[in-house]
């Protein structure tokens, strides 16, 4: 939620009341305005400012310097002096002050050695109630903080108070945050349910069981509502599916996951397909189904780690066309530098190529190799790679050599000449 766009958006439009409800796409499309730097001002502006504003400008500068040098004690002192800007009679400066004190205060408290949870709570409560523009954000941050420190019930309470907050015109610009608050309410219900579940399994207690079920009901209602809206809701989907699986409601879970993955209204999200695949794998779906899911994933993210599984599925599949498709998959995978040194991937390639050779499909290998030979040689088969692999991962070196041998039958032998020479030399050495 606190992505760069959002941060810049805040500092960008200082006096701008127009925090309209927008998804991430709309935000990007919004005209980029130059960021307003809070700590530098023109000499002209400085000449006309009052002594009070000069003091606050210098104070902010001192806080910034102290924080950058990690002098937290000093920073705390200056921040307490800076808090007088909350009483500024200039309207836009006063609303800025609320935000500045909130953000700087939490940062200082996080790093200061003497800070306690009560200080955080006090700060969040103060800043929530002074100025309404940031109410939802501060509530979210407060509950995250409590969550990270293990106070799950407190976090839940904070969010439920915040969820029922309405403030006239201000609710509209903050509606996105309010939606998130709602979503996290449901998520926290799930977390509590999970805690209760693990404690209940030891002692068969009826009342705690009933509590657990009530949390489940609350969580599922909220999460269902949230997931029904288009968006990226990975952790919420996972938690909902987890709960449904516990109560053995497979169809509902499947429906949710399929909607999440295939519904056109939702932004394209490879994770959705991953979750669906994992769910189906858990419930032993037929390979054809798995393959169809992974096909979509392959289109989206050719370098995904599940592509190896996909490859093996295709190889072992009985459907006629699938075997031929497996070779481009694994070749595509090795086009990406992240898989360059992965032994399993190379083994996979070796396996596929041997299978193809056995089945007499060398022409396909030749096709693939023709597209790739110019950059593969520099990417995988330079003398430097050979030396490095010999030091770090000798097995990889062996596998790559075997692949090279197989590939060498399709191209000119001198492609790999230097490489082979080097390998022989290394083997002779050791």
């Amino acid at each position: 939620m606190d992505d760069i766009e959002a941060e810049l958006g805040i500092s960008r439009s200082v006096g701008n009341e127009d925090f309209s409800d927008s998804s991430e796409d709309e935000r990007v499309a919004r005209k980029i305005r130059p960021p307003i730097l809070l700590h530098s001002s023109t000499a002209q502006a400085r000449a006309k400012e009052s002594g009070f504003h000069e003091s606050s400008r210098l104070c902010l500068k001192a806080i910034r310097d102290a924080m950058l040098h990690h002098h937290w004690q000093e920073a705390a002192q200056y921040l307490s002096a800076y808090s007088q800007t909350l009483e500024d009679t200039t309207v836009n400066k006063q609303s800025l002050a609320c935000e500045i004190i909130w953000r700087l205060g939490t940062e200082i408290l996080q790093h200061h050695p003497n800070s306690r949870l009560e200080d955080f709570n006090a700060l969040y409560e103060q800043m929530k109630n002074s100025g309404v523009k940031n109410y939802a954000k501060i509530c979210l941050e407060h509950s995250f903080h409590l969550l990270l420190n293990g106070h799950i019930y407190d976090a839940k309470r904070q969010l439920s108070v915040a969820a029922s907050w309405r403030y006239g015109k201000q609710s509209v610009p903050q509606s996105l945050d309010l939606k998130l608050i709602h979503a996290y309410c449901g998520f926290l219900d799930y977390v509590i349910w999970h805690m209760k579940k693990s404690s209940v399994s030891e002692a068969e207690d009826n009342s705690s069981n009933r509590e657990m079920h009530s949390y489940f009901r609350q969580a599922s209602v909220t999460l269902q509502e949230i997931i029904a809206q288009p968006g990226v809701w990975d952790p919420f989907v996972l938690s909902y599916v987890d709960m449904l699986e516990f109560y053995n409601d497979q169809e509902e879970a499947l429906k949710v996951l399929q909607n999440y993955a295939y519904n056109k209204d939702y932004p394209s999200n490879p994770n959705a397909h991953v979750y669906l695949y994992q769910f189906l794998k858990r419930h032993e779906a037929p390979p054809a189904k798995l393959i169809s899911i992974l096909k979509v994933l392959h289109h989206l993210v050719p370098s995904h780690e599940l592509m190896q599984e996909y490859c093996y599925l295709l190889v072992n599949s009985v459907v006629p066309g699938h075997l031929e498709e497996s070779l481009p998959v694994v070749f595509n995978l090795l086009d990406y530098p992240s898989w360059k040194n992965d032994l399993d991937t190379w083994n996979c390639l070796l396996t596929v190529m041997t299978v193809f050779k056995r089945k007499g499909l060398q022409h396909l290998i030749a096709n693939e190799w023709k597209q790739r030979k110019d950059f593969w040689l520099t990417m995988h088969y330079r003398a430097y790679h050979g030396r490095k692999d010999s030091e770090l991962n000798r097995e990889l070196l062996l596998v790559k050599a075997k692949v090279a041998k197989l590939l060498g039958e399709h191209g000119k032998p001198d492609h790999f000449f230097k490489y082979k020479l080097l390998i022989i030399f290394i083997f002779l050495m050791f």
Binding site: A62, Y78, A81, S83, A122, Q126
Partner: protein
Amino acid sequence: MDEHLTEGYSEPCKQCGAVSWALSDGCQFFCRNCHNVIEKTQDVVDVSSFILNNKISSISSSSRKKTRREWMVCEGFQFILKLQAEALVGLGVCPQFKTDVLWDFWKRYLQITRQAYTRSPVNSFTNTVVSSEPESAFLSEASDQTEPMSASGHSTDGRSSVCSGSLDAACYLSAKERKSRQLMNMPRTLALCHLALLWLREAITLADLLRLVSRRLIPYINVYEEFPEEMQFYGRDAIIFRVETIPSYRKVHGEALQMAEILQLPAFPPVTSDCLLHPALLSLRYLMEVNLPDELHSLVCRVIEKSAMGKESFLTFNPSKPKSTFLFYDLQAAALIIVTMKLLFKLDDHVACLYVLAGSKMFSLKAWYMTVHPALEHARQREELFEARRPWKSKKVLIPAMKHKAVVLKRRRVVEQLQSTFHTLTGSVPEQQSSSPSSFQFLWGQEEDSDGPSLHHKHLNCMLEKRGKEKWLVNQAYWHTDLKRCHKKDCRDHYSELKHSLPRMYVWLLGLFSFLLRVSEAQVHKEVVEVERRFFGTPAYSLIILNSKKKKKGLKIYPAFVSLLRALEMSGC
């Protein structure tokens, strides 16, 4: 009673769990069972219920109404002046400052602006009240013994209660009326103090006064905290008495000039050579401040003599004379020192500094710079951090309008709670040290907390050479910027254009004095140009000026001028 205000809120109380909320005077929610106060305050509702809320809040506070006294804004200013006078007397000014001089000036002001002591006062409903009030308020503690006699007349006049605590704050709001009636404002209180100090020829210059204000040794920021309880203070009063800037030197000087005109003062007591405002003595003080050798003082006195700036007629302020100028005594002294240094050292960045062995008795400009510059930088940083930490808002909350009361009170509470949170975090509270008042901002010597070694005892012999019986200056050249007066009336200064072409050493020197006196470098430079105008104002030189081409910088001095320099012979120093 408050159900309809708090009915929207049904959270259980954290301490006792009950749901019965009421609204306190400070517009905060509190639990009726356990009196636990929470942070929630009244939500903003639409206007129609606002009036209802206002009525209720005034009913609940009526039982605690204190004795209210109706007061005029000029009484407030009188109170402030009294506090300022007491502070100054506490700092060492003679007691006549408070009892005679400042009090006389104030009475005169009230009389001339027809706010008091007159048969036909401007404010029609202050007939006999004000004349008895000020005296008792000023000379003794402001007491509530004398109840305003026409109070009954006031209660029918609803002006006092609606928008301000005082009776006539509304008059102070329009700039036109303020100007036409020559009403008082906060910087004018300082201006009056300055005039009174000048009348008594006290050593506290305007720069010192402003520095004392900055150090909170003279009450100025948030003085209204000290107003007695009976003087109810809210609404439009805030705009008059609230201070968010310490006025600049130039502003206070301008106000002092205006006040002198308004008061129609006669000629001030003459500034003689034994008086501490005289440039000879003031420059000695500044020489000590910036760690220059004492031997320089005699040179400065010669420059004063030659530029005829030591004369009483020149130095004394006489408002009745149309052409009399109101001088900047401290700036003048600083400018004299700078001119002397230019004569002695040239200061044009090209003359090689004489290499002087460390520990020798000779004064070296480079050594002096290396000593003073770090101290100056430290002092600047300290000053900046002091400014950053300065508390402007007072604990006594100013409520500009009733509809903002809840918000303002809440903000004050939030600020206090935040400050206490961070104070417990940092441990001890570093109080703003009430520094002991001292005329000097630097300490030179061997002590532990000194800013550097003292160079007061160094000799200047290396800068003077003996030619026959006389001692001449080694440096035979001098440069200055354009000395011609600008004809445009509002032309302030050309410093910003000149700055990049001036020698760095000179600019640094200007920076040093501008830091000491809390003025801008442009003002110091302007004063230097004034001194140079007077110094070079002899007929022989003006002839040279007319003949030569004037450049902005680096005017080469012709041999004819050497005779003038010879006139600066040092005899038997």
